[in-house]
Each structure stands twice: as structure tokens, then as C-alpha cells.
Symmetry: D2
């Protein structure tokens, strides 16, 4: 992602969110959650505006890169091969510009940093950050843009993403899409918005009571948050709180799971429509606050 | 699994565990968690002894069944094709008898029952069962037997399971194995024990504080439990409690995640060895109670 | 208190709040929490409007009733002796009409109903109500009216109440008052409002995580609540949620303690003033929603 | 209390328990919880053995000291007047040697240190200690000795303590006693043991889920604990964990309340007897571990 003040951003993502720095390069900080193994889950890039550079997913087989390249070209999408090391800790990859303008990256190899507590006889309790155990992992990103339906169609048909939930607009067309490639609720989501923007990135905390503690600490540390404190999404059923990083990018802490499946085509989606859409967004308030969809970066 | 008193077992798995009945047949009750979509996650079979009949996994492509059959035969394992409908709610499948004696089933199609709250504009809060929200899904089974290492080798090499954690015995050989096919910590595990037996099946609850409430209710309802109440496994890092069904099969409620990955070969395992093995089993007690490994069914 | 539909109110206070009925009389239902011993903590009175009849406190010595009567008369307040049995389960008492118009009752004797789980070798886990353990006790009432400062002065000087927190209005005069006679944060509070009205009554739940579960269930059961879900009061530091009974009386579930003291005059108050008053009310939102002070009964 | 290594003890009570240092004197450290107002709740005294020096309670009126002195002499107990300042932050007081040998102190005045977050417009969220909010207050002490019944009789009859729970030994005589002077479950308790010893002191945490986190951190920091991790007492109904300070004094973290009352004689006790005594001690285990009553200081 892009962050305007790299030092302030690093402090936010380590002290407030609870990630660790795994590598640095001029103008870049690489971060990973403490309970994830790969080299990084987030790159902070110095830039003159906020927003997202790309989202990356790892493929199962090396040959998947070439297959994806062919498919993307068949769909008329711009692609670019990325050399090994262009992104620290990753092997060579493929950039695809989605119809919504977002850059979507695939790669096969990631260096391993291992879990923070080590891989041999670990003491599984981590030192706490601001009164709570660190987030376990980066859970998902919600991208915003035009032509999201086309991006989603490509991801599902060409790259085997599953649709777990969808919001149907008053005109009967799906407008928001929640996609997964794993057994969790969603890894990547799309909603209407300004071209090539990001609504939020979400981190997983594995205790609903931790969300209370995290809101306490966000407020105590005067981190900017959404208007209210704790809520619950109908979509995903997660207990949730939103806040902002120093560049204005929206973050989420969330907890909650249901069983999705990694098997293509075997996950019929939950459908939100009409008067129930606000409940899908905020189950407690049954309403969507004015600035919730307006603020993106 | 096999249960001796079908009515008592059904009451246990609905009222204590919090599953729903999705189908019945003479001598069989099919059960599923409220937040899972497929036809069932557990079959209660009337039998004259406790234990497990088979464990089943869904494959990604129909052609995977034939590939698995070929692989199993190459490994010298006994296989059997299963007709569609032999198990309610499932298409045709393949039974493989693993080296440890356990019957391992693969299938491609499962009927959908959907989430309990429905698939259209759901009210995502479920009525509670005994004071806590229902378990979200069947998380894993721990099988016990001889030659577990051979079963594990087959599952990893032929069927793309990943090894997330392993216990190394004093002789330097791995003795227990925790495997996953998804992004969760383990779906299937193996430990030494009597041939073709099961140590426990585990259900996921998505709040660590719920484990306190569940232990309260288990004790209040006089359900037989492990000696102590709540503990934490080093392996998986989960907050946990064990109890027994009316036939003596061990159940677990657990909560906790770290990020594993579905991609074959990309998940180096955590290794538990020597003096730290008890911590891997029970982080709080740093000890394994005498009857923990002795009681299997 | 006064409730317009007695049957609907009884259902609310038993099924939603989690009290038990301890006695009935035509037009009256007596209720008590499961983990309190005295005859009742709440009386539902059939009436043609919502609101509160009186609040009652138990005195330490029988002679305290006569002393309070003398003091009240010295303060020019109207008093009335109440015969034993006029209120079920209580001995004789004294009614004092406070300057704010609220009727304040003192009594010496209360019949004992004991804890719900009994007083001999109890099984201390109660059956749950709507997915959570019952509220432990009635914690406090917040009364609203004119001349609250005069009521508070009387309660402190004549009846040994302690002031734990106070809000100072822009004119420099205290406007809201939080009083205790025990070691908990407040038992009785006063704020500006229409004469002789009640803002809310609060019930204690002894786990902050239970507040999440209770909000889930309030929303699931379509009980009317305050605009947002869970918050935290600066005043008292409690995790909180507000909802309404069928007559429109506001209820609160709350959890949290700090150490106050029962000893008169030894508890200097926390003072909220100026720009920090909204934080005192709602720590997360740092704002007071428009209808929070307007709606009283 | 007495502690052999003052520096190690101070570190334990600040970093592990979460108290703050409010004063020092050669050989003494005074500590208070962050959410309590009086000068201290605990004094660490350098000594050559572990154990407790005295327990102190504040009286309501200055004249109570003389009344207690007279009463104690009538009961044949040794008393000693304590000058103001002999204990830092306290006015003059009275020491009474109870029949069980424990020194029981009364005082009228305590200097105020206020809550850690201040008394004016506080930011009510405290910086966390080891991943959890600090304990709210010192809750109770369990003293052990001979002739505890005589000490209890004196405290109830002469000093207005209430008995909330009691354990009746097989010979029909009460053997353990749980006493309160406030609305909480117990402030002071007595059980059989070596003369003038202390079984544990307990600190209140106001979230049951915090007990999970605290056990995680105790184990992570290698603080010595009781054999198992989290349990629940039948007595008091509290969620609990035990651990030891560097001198071997036992500490407890606990959470849970029911409604007791400050009014003398109005709190009939819960009685634990016969086969149910283990459940009263440890509700989950329904057993008392061998070393639970043997280890005192």
C-alpha cells in the first residue's frame, strides 16, 4: 500500500496493529503478522498519496503463473511479468490489471520468516502489543472501483475464487462481492467506489472479547476510528471495529468465522438485498453511517 | 462414527455440542454445524462399540477420485468405490484403507443444506444452545493407530495434505502428525495408539471466552470431562476443553487460529521434541495427564 | 416501576433481562435477580403510563427509620410511614418525597428468597437465559428531574450516601450526580430532566464479553435498543448497552468495577467538566446521541 | 506482608500483578491498585521469611477505634494503639491479635492517592500491564490458623462482619469462613492451617476472559502457578487462577460477583458440607489438589 509518512505508518502498523517488520528497503517497509510464516503480508511504500499499489496471492503450482497470464490476455487484460526479488522475499510473479483498475499480483515462491515464536518447541504465547495479543494475520482487503463485477467475474472464472456473499443493488444487479480462496469467509472483496481505490484492509484477532480491548486501546491512544466503537457485520458475522492509519487508509480488526470451502464452485453465496442491506453491513445499527462508503483511499 | 445408544448420542450432539440433524436413516443420524453448508459433518451409526467408521474429505475436481484411486493402488492400499447415495447427501466416492487401518473417504459432490440462518438476508445470530452460540464447524479429528507415519506419508505425497506440526519421539522419529488441507491449523491428525482408533473429534467455537462458558455448562449438565477444565494446547495454540459423548468417544471444543496455507509444500511444520512435548500438549499444565493418551475409542 | 402491559413487561424482565418472579399480587409482579437474596429488586406495577414509583434502600438498624424521618422533616420533606406488608416481602418502612419529586423508600426488613441455586451445596452455574448467564443483580437507577442537587444534598448529608462522580455544567454548578452506599461505583444517580422521571435502570453482568453476547441477542430478538450497540461509559468505566422495555422504560446491561468504599466521606468524586463531558458519557463515541437525554419515562 | 527479596517482590507485584508503587521506606514498599483511591492496599516488608504481618480495615467513624478496643479487651484479646504515620499514609489505628494469632488492624484515616487516571476528566483506559488491564483492587485475603472459629466469632459479633459462605467439616463444625464488610462476596476468609499463616491474597480482574489472558501471561513469563490453569470456585462462583510470588506467597486473580450486602446480619450464608466440599473449592475439577491446602506462608 502507499503511505505518506513512512515512519508514522511503520509505528502505526507495529504498535497499534501489532505486526512485525521483516525487511526494509529505501522507501519501503515490509511487515508480517506474528502468526504467519511468509515473508510479508503488507508493504508500506512511501508515496505522495494514500491508497493501494497491488494485492498479491500465492499460486499452488509454478505453472499457474503462465496459465494465469494466458487467461488474463484472453480476457483482454494488461499483464506484466515481475522478476524475482523485485518484491523482497518473493520469487518471480505476474501482475494483472483488473477491469476495475486494481493491480492483482500472483507469485509462486515466498521466503519463509516463520512464526514469531519460532518453529521448534515454541512458547506459543506472544508478548502483547498494547494490551492484546497481536493480530494473527492479514485477513482480507475490500477494494473499491468501477466495473468491479468484471473483476470478480475474471477472478472467479479464470482464477478459481469462490463467492461467499454478495449485495444486490436495487436494480437487481450484484454490486458488492466477497471472495475467498481458502476456508475463511473472504480474502478479497469489491464494492462500488472511485476507480482503483481501497476501502479497508482487515486483520484477524482470534477472540471477540479482544475487540473490546482493542477499541479501548484505540481510543486511549487517540487513534482515529469510525464514529462508533464495536459493531458486528451481518456479512461474515464478524465482530468488528474500524480505524485509520496516519495516511487515512482504513483498517479493521475483526473476529469470527463460518465454514467456507476452498473447493471451486461448491460455496453458494449468501445474498443481501433490498431493505436488509444495512443489516448486512452493520447488524447492530441496521444502518450504514454516511461516511462509511464515502471514505476510501 | 459409531455410537452405541443412538438416541442418547443424538441428544448429546444436538444439545451439548450444538449441531443440527439434517437427515436420518434407520440406524443413522446425520448432523451438521449451523454455520456450515454441506449436507453433514458427522454421521452417528448404531453399533455395538464406540469408535470411528471413516473420515471423509471433499475433492476439488471429479477426476481427483480416479487419480486418488490410482495413487492408492500404487501405494498398495485397498480401495473401494462408493455409489452415490450410499452415504446420504453425497455423490459417489472412494474409500481407501490407510496403512494405520483407518478408512479414508473422498467424494466430489455434497448436497447443500445451507447455513441455519438461511442464504438470503440472514439474521446472523443463531438461537443459543445451552448458553453459548453453536459451534461453527467440525474442525478436525485426531486418529490413533500403528503405522501412522505411513498413513501420513501417503496423505502428503499422494493427496497434497500439508504438515503443520509434528511431535518427534525420543528415538528421533516423528510420532504425531497434524495435517491440513485448508488455511486452518489442522483438519486431520495422527498419534500412536491401538489400531484404527480415534482419540477425539474437535469442534470450533469462535471466542476463547466461550470456552469458559462451555466448561461451565458441561459441568452444570454433568457431562463427563477430562480431569481439568480449561487448558491451552501448545500445538495449534488453541484454548481447549475435552469431554466425552455417551459412548465414550472424546470430543473437544477449541478456539484459536494461526495462518496456515492451502498450498502444498509451503507450510514448514512446527516441531515439538524432547522435554518440550508436554508443553506442546498442555501449555498451562506442562504435563500430560495419565489418561489423556490411554483413552481412545 | 410502572408498566403499561404487565404480561409483556414480565416477559421482558424474565426472558430478556433474566430475572425471576418471586411474588405476584393483582396488578403487581415482584422480580429478583438470580444471584441476590432479598425478596425482590423490582416491582412491576400496572399503570396507565411508564415511569418509576419509588426507589428503595435497606437501612442497617431499625432505629435508622425514625432518624431518617426526623431528618427528612428537618429538611422540610414530606414523609409517610409504610406498614409492613404494604410491599410484599418487606417490613415497615418510610417514604420520603425528595426535592426532585422522586419517592425514596427506606425499610429495615426484607424476606429472604435466597440465591436461585440454593443456599446449601449449590451448583453455582445457572441455566442460561437467551444464551448468557442471568444478570447478577440490579445495579443502579438514574433518576431525572429538577432540583436534583437538593435531593443529592439530602441523601449525602442526612443519609450518608457517598458521591463517586459528578458532571459540572458550563455554569460551574454540578448537574449530574452518581451516588453509592456500597463498594460499587454507583447505586443511585441523578441528572437534569422532566420532574420525577427515570432515565434508566441498570443490571450487572459479570463479564465484559457477555455484553457482546447480550447485544447479539437483543438485536436477534428485535428488542428496541439505543442507536448503537456496545459502548463504554467514561463514568464508571463500564462496558454498556442500552435497550427499552415494552413500556419504553430504558434498561442497561453493564459490567465493570472500580473500588469505591462504603465509608461516608472517604470517597472523593471524579469530576467531569467542559469539553470532556461527552467522553464521560460515551468514551468510544466521545459524543452524546441526541435522544440519549431526551428520552426518559 | 513479608517478602524476602524486596526488589524481586516489587517487580512481581508491579509487572505481574499490575499494582503501582505509592511510597517507599527502607525495607518497605507500599503498593496500590490503579483503580483504588487509598494510599495503599499492600505493604511489602523485607523479612527473613514469607507470610503476613497484619490485615487492615478502615472504620466508619473515628470513635469506632475506641469501641473496638473496648470490645477486644472484653474478649480478652491483646490490643495495641498505633500512632499516626507508623504506617505511611495512615492515621492512628488499633492492632488486635485475633485468637488465631493473626494481627488485625483498624484505622480511620487514609491519605488519598486517587485513581491512576486522575480524578478530573479521566481517560479511563489504563496502559496495560502484560497484555491485560491492571487488576482493579485487592479483593480479599484467606488466612489460615488454629481457632479460626473464635476469630470469626469476634469479627462478626464485635465488628459487624457478615458471613457469606462457610464450609462444615465432617464433625459438623464449621471449619472455613468467608466474611464481608461490603457488597462483595468476601473481604476476609479463614481456613484451618498452621498458626498465624496466610493461604493467599486475591486481586480482582473485571472480565472472566481476562483470566484466560492472565494465565497465558503467567505461563509465558514462567511465573510459578498452581498445577492447573483456570478453574472456577464454587465458593464465590469466581473464575480463578493461582500463582506464587518470589517468596512463595500464593496470589489469586479472580473475577465474579454475586450480591451480598453491607448490612449486618442480613446475609444468610451459603453452606458447603460433606461430599460437596470439593465442588465448593474447585467446581470444574470437583477435587482439591493435594498441595492446595498444604502450602501456606
Amino acid at each position: 500500500m502507499r503511505w505518506m509518512d513512512l515512519a508514522a505508518s511503520e509505528k502505526h502498523y507495529t504498535d497499534v496493529v501489532g505486526l512485525r517488520v521483516t525487511a526494509r528497503r529505501p522507501g519501503q517497509v515490509y511487515l508480517q503478522a506474528h502468526e504467519a510464516q511468509d515473508h510479508h503480508c503488507l508493504i508500506l511504500n512511501a508515496a505522495d498519496r494514500a491508497g493501494i499499489e497491488h494485492t498479491g496471492f500465492k499460486v499452488s503450482e509454478r505453472s499457474d503463473l503462465a496459465e494465469a497470464e494466458t487467461a488474463a490476455k484472453d480476457w483482454g487484460l494488461v499483464t506484466r511479468r515481475v522478476a524475482s526479488g523485485e518484491v523482497l522475499g518473493q520469487g518471480d510473479g505476474l501482475m494483472i490489471t483488473l477491469p476495475s483498475g486494481h493491480v492483482f499480483k500472483l507469485f509462486y515462491h515466498a521466503d519463509k520468516v516463520g512464526y514469531s515464536y519460532g518453529m521448534q518447541d515454541p512458547d506459543i504465547i506472544l508478548d502483547h502489543v498494547d494490551g492484546v495479543s497481536p493480530v494473527t494475520h492479514l485477513d482480507h482487503a475490500l477494494l473499491a472501483g468501477n466495473d468491479c463485477d468484471k473483476s470478480v467475474k475474471f477472478l472467479m472464472e479464470a482464477l478459481d475464487f469462490n463467492l461467499t456473499e454478495t449485495i444486490v443493488a436495487p436494480d437487481g444487479n450484484p454490486s458488492a462481492f466477497f471472495l475467498t480462496t481458502s476456508s475463511t469467509v473472504h480474502n478479497l472483496a469489491f464494492a462500488p467506489g472511485p476507480p482503483n481505490s481501497v476501502h479497508h484492509i482487515a486483520f484477524y484477532v482470534n477472540d471477540r472479547a479482544d475487540v473490546i480491548r482493542r477499541v479501548d486501546m484505540l481510543k486511549h491512544k487517540k487513534v482515529t476510528t469510525l464514529d462508533y466503537g464495536i459493531s458486528r457485520h451481518g456479512i461474515g458475522g464478524v465482530t468488528t471495529t474500524y480505524f485509520f492509519d496516519p495516511s487515512g487508509n482504513r483498517n479493521e480488526f475483526q473476529c469470527g468465522v463460518y465454514e467456507a470451502q476452498t473447493i471451486r464452485g461448491s460455496v453458494p453465496p449468501i445474498v443481501w438485498a433490498g431493505e436488509h442491506i444495512p443489516r448486512g453491513a452493520f447488524y447492530y445499527e441496521n444502518a450504514i453511517s454516511a461516511n462509511f462508503f464515502e471514505v476510501v483511499t
